[in-house]
Symmetry: C2
Subunit: 341 residues, 2 copies
């Protein structure tokens, strides 16, 4: 039988001790970590970058098909992704959780295994947090701190006319992964049939265990590339690109045939009679980086197989447009995941 330790048997402080006992510090900037009113960080003349995310059970994740370890990993990664999207390096996180008594200490350990795995993969220190009980549902709040050389952060507002629009990795996979998991959950609920996900490892992995594009930021540094604007794709490419256009006061042209699609994603989309382009434009949670660079950087971007040039920036008056494979021009619209609609 699986072991089950009640959280109440440890108490709040016992639980915090338990969850942080193997916490290792990797950054010299971490002066004081878990166990006081606050953590202390010294970025030695670099600027501090801060980002926060709130994740709620039933809204952002479904525990019926999300392993807790994956959830812990992903919760950290989505926050680090925001720091990378500033062209910065994440260094510390604080994590708060609200848990109902349906959770055992073993379940929390699984979640924290994922949290620590992400901290290790991205060289980030867990330096604090808050642990409380919740009446219902699992609540996760993570704040990430990062550092950047003075004034070398990249915002959403710097895109210039004629800049190239670029994206890392491939798009739409996480949305397709969600689609299959939701479908299998319904089948299981209605018929009891166990899900068959064997051939869908790629798209399911894109949803459940995304990675933040640390490598892209490192490539920029190594190649001396300074993007003019950047953000990570959490709500879908269209929605994010429209943010950049709005905040940079520019327009854009996007080419359908340049959108990077994975073969497994494409095959599965066709199987479900979904348009892979629509998945790439509107599917969220890919956590790839969307950025613009000056045309002078064309060769450097092109030399990296993991980066795609998908369009260019225009005058604002030209609007935001998608050129289809057939050569037609459509207005780009945001149909991303709007949690409040």
């Amino acid at each position: 039988m699986e072991e089950r330790t009640e959280i109440a048997s440890l108490g709040e402080f016992g639980l915090i001790d338990h969850l942080t006992q193997n916490n290792e510090i990797k950054n010299a900037s971490t002066i004081l970590s878990v166990g006081d009113d606050a953590a202390v960080i010294d970025h030695f003349g670099r600027q501090t970058v801060i980002s926060t995310d709130l994740l709620l059970e039933g809204i952002h994740f479904d525990l019926s098909y999300t392993p807790l370890k994956h959830l812990g990993y992903k919760s950290v990664v989505v926050n680090l992704s925001d720091i990378y999207a500033m062209n910065a390096t994440p260094t510390q996180i604080v994590i708060s959780i609200g848990i109902s008594n349906k959770f055992s200490v073993e379940a929390l350990d699984e979640f924290y295994e994922g949290v620590y795995a992400a901290c290790k993969a991205y060289d980030v220190d867990l330096v604090g947090g808050d642990t409380t009980t919740s009446q219902r549902g699992f609540v996760i709040s993570i704040t990430a701190i990062g550092e950047v050389a003075p004034d070398s952060y990249v915002t959403r507002s710097g895109a210039k006319v004629n800049d190239l629009i670029c994206v890392s990795g491939d798009l739409g996979g996480a949305f397709l992964g969600l689609t299959i998991l939701e479908r299998e959950r319904k089948i299981f609920e209605e018929t009891g049939a166990q899900p068959d996900l064997e051939n869908q490892a790629y798209i399911v992995g894109r949803l459940l265990k995304p990675e933040a594009r640390k490598d892209v930021i490192e490539y920029f540094a190594a190649q001396n590339i300074m993007p003019t604007s950047m953000m990570d794709i959490s709500d879908g490419l269209s929605s994010e690109l429209l943010h950049i256009c709005k905040q940079s006061n520019v327009g854009c042209v996007l080419y359908e045939d340049k959108l990077p699609l994975n073969e497994d994603s494409k095959a599965f989309a066709y199987k479900l009679e979904l348009d892979p382009t629509a998945c790439a434009l509107s599917g969220g949670e890919d956590y790839e980086l969307l950025f613009t660079v000056a045309q002078a950087d064309y060769e450097k971007i092109n030399a990296n197989n993991g980066l795609s040039i998908i369009g260019y920036i225009t005058e604002k008056s030209e609007g935001e447009n998608l050129i289809t494979r057939g050569g037609n021009k459509h207005q780009l619209v945001a149909q991303g995941w709007n949690h409040l609609k």
Copy 2:
């Protein structure tokens, strides 16, 4: 009739724009604020302090007697209190909220009125956050960032034998405020009688609108006092002092007759047949500062009417003791608010 704007009518980004439209920046260290993947902060050679709190409806607050504006104010203040407890100055906050559709835009505006009022009162900038829907209950997560001159932060682990144990303000008031509000809520539910809180403004205010002790930190700086250890009192004096003793590896002697009690608190405690000393020792949420100083600082502490010397630090082997008014010695035990028990 009261106006009610549905949150869905604004959408997520519309809501964020609405809530942050009057956001003012006060700190030179705030390089980039709300509206990007992350905020950028430059502390110009000072160390960064970070603290986070998660507040859940039904666990940390009861909307039946907590005005939303007060809740917004308090949510910020409790977090700033942690920064002051490090002997640091808060400079920025990020705030995430999860809201169910029972909330209108007007209700959120009230909450943010309180948030901005606290930012103004403490010269703190709101620089980011996350806004999401929740299936049930109001979720608030706040992370505060502060700054401190290199290595002048104060932890819980530096108390030395013979140090004086000190506390700011008075204790037990917030607990008594909670007691009366809970009682009046039950009376209202059972009989419909409206609460009569007129004579309890002080204790109700202690619970609903606490202040963080910025003034104490400023006094330390002006008087050149460097506490040897410090924390804020959120869970009750006994519980917090035991933390300091454990982390500093020392014991303590506390004098019952030195505990600072407000006259209104005392009167109300007697009315309810509660022991005011027990309220002071175990009542939480006062957000006063508990700290230790070297004996050399006795005059400086004594000169400030808002500070009380309540005991002294001993060898660990002597344990943690309370000397009662009658001269008896009792072991100090933590009976603070343990949300997980």
